[in-house]
């Protein structure tokens, strides 16, 4: 297990370095610099460059850059809100994005498991049709289209929820966003848990449990659920990607003051330093969550723990 985890961590570190290298290259290639001011003379620019270490060789600059980024010093915003450290900009908004993403994931996972397991256990025709329609829509339709529908029908026409995010009532004003994001997660988790549960129900040990005279409920609760819930962790990693992308648009739609809105605004005003810093934050977040899920799966599944490979 240690070897597997060690390999995963190594890959994660290399990936972060590769990303930093790409971002550094982009920063060099991007037009414009913070010293693009006409009022600055050539000598003043030289002084500024010396101050920020921009007169040193590129390799040294890159190492300084890596050191700063890893320390959490993401640079300064040029255009969006000039001279504000980007770390401060992100720190204010990050909790909101995390909260909405977390609840979207949680709601999606719970409802998805419920739907998937129920359909697998009760081979009910009506339930099956319901499951088919719901999962097809959830998998196929992007979360921002759900968000649009909600905001028009529930928000504007129905007046059930506020159309835009409101600091005074963060819960009721972000319900639509959370639900819209959870639907995609729900569909994938439902499909996966239904397939897993059906497989487990056909397994020898479940048949054996039934032969021993255990009731259906006991078998399901004690054996099927436990064994079919674990693999669901593996799909959660891939869902995270969709969630990240979807949250960007959804945050913009409901004016949620999260990181997504910051990225969109930064793109709109060409504030490259903010875009690049956010790319770094998103990548690290993604890599770390993937790593945690990988390790979790490794700890849970004995096949991986004993030196095999996860399927």
């Amino acid at each position: 297990m240690a070897r597997y985890i060690g390999k995963r961590i190594l890959i994660a570190i290399v990936t972060i370095l590769v990303i930093l290298f790409i971002l550094f290259l982009l920063l060099q290639l991007m037009p414009g610099s913070p010293f693009n001011d006409e009022k600055l003379s050539a000598e003043q620019i030289a002084v500024l460059k010396e101050k920020y270490g921009l007169d040193k060789p590129v390799v040294v600059q890159f190492l300084t850059y890596v050191k700063n980024m890893l320390k959490g010093d993401l640079g300064v915003s040029y255009a969006l809100s000039p001279d504000t450290p980007i770390t401060d900009l992100i720190a204010n908004r990050f909790p909101v994005t995390l909260k909405i993403g977390f609840f979207g994931m949680l709601l999606g996972t719970l409802t998805g498991m419920l739907l998937g397991f129920l359909t697998a256990f009760f081979k009910n025709k009506v339930l099956n049709v319901f499951y088919n329609i719901l999962t097809l829509l959830g998998v196929a339709v992007p979360s921002y289209l759900f968000a649009m529908c909600f905001s028009y029908f529930l928000g504007y026409r129905g007046k059930l929820f506020p159309l835009l995010y409101d600091f005074r009532s963060p819960i009721s004003s972000s319900i639509m966003a959370v639900v819209a994001m959870s639907l995609g997660v729900m569909a994938v988790i439902a499909r996966f848990s239904k397939a897993e549960a059906s497989d487990v129900m056909k397994s020898d040990y479940v048949l054996f449990a039934k032969c021993q005279g255990l009731s259906n409920t006991t078998t399901i609760l004690r054996y099927v659920l436990k064994n079919s819930m674990m693999p669901v962790i593996t799909v959660m990693a891939s869902l995270l990607v969709g969630l990240l992308t979807g949250s960007l648009v959804i945050e913009q739609m409901f004016s949620i003051p999260g990181v997504g809105g910051l990225l969109t605004n930064a793109i709109a005003v060409n504030d490259y330093s903010v875009v690049i810093a956010l790319s770094f934050v998103y990548s690290v977040l993604y890599i770390v969550v993937m790593l945690i899920l990988d390790i979790m799966y490794c700890v849970i599944d004995p096949r991986v723990r004993l030196g095999g490979k996860p399927e």
Binding site: Y144, L145, M148, L263
Partner: protein, 337 residues
Amino acid sequence: MVAKYVPKKEDFVFASDQVKKSAVKEAVSGVKHETFKRFMAQRSAVFGAVILVLLILLSLVGPYISGHSYDEQNLSYANMAPRVPLLSGLGIFDGSEDVPKTSGTITENKYETLEITDTYYLFGTDSLGRDMFARCFMGLRISLIIAFAATMINLIIGMNYGIISGYFGGATDLIMQRFIDIISSIPTLVVVTLLMLVLQPGMGSIIVALMVSGWFEMSLIARAEVLKVKELEYVQAAKTMGAGHMHIIFKDIVPNIVGKLVTQIMLSIPQAVFLEAFLSFVGLGMPAGTCSLGTLLSDGFKNAMLHPYKLLPAAIIMILLMVGCHMVAEGVKKATE
């Protein structure tokens, strides 16, 4: 008395190429026929295929059949509600819409106030007076072109990468897979956003961005399939008979992984359409003046509350496209398993 059979010389000669070819052909066409039959037996898959064919046809002819061009501006006809012939006589889709005013909501029919009751904008017009019907299907066409192009490039790069990695195995596979490990750990969102910042906005750049972020998924699937097929008896037999790598890969392996690849293609197309729309929302999509499903959606959303008809057609087209692709993908998956 039965006459004794005397073996002839011809009995010990290999079957002629003609015979061999026709036998193989028969077997192959049998498999193809079976697969096709299994696909057609699934109602949802056929339904999905019909939706896709209709959408593709509409994307070809749609921009020309409404009688208005997709990019011709007519500011005096801006923000017209949908008006459909025949249905307008029944009182629905007659071009009237509820307009909220400070004094309360009033129903207004711009076609009557402008005295153009014989003009029909099937999906209404946008804020510059352009016909939404033509725009929607023009947008669908652009989105489909982007999605098809990106997916085909992904297929070519990913399939070859995956096959080489899986077929040759060993150190080649190890190095190629570590490279994929690293690339796939960078979120698509970040790759696409950064690329769009560097490249000029436009169709080519979007295709490049989608390609860079999407090829490795195809390669993972191709590799996994090759690993499975590689060990089967018939491939081993071909190897023993002295078939070259190229022959084995393209004659023996590729035909057997086509099903999985087609499924992946059908799933990549909606993914590409989704990312294209995402780019438009973030402000990195197709430049102003052109249209795609993404730009239509993001423009439509800006005044969807006042004029919902600007958003709905594009949204419905997109949902149909996505659902259709997924239905066909499911069908192909089940038919080839």
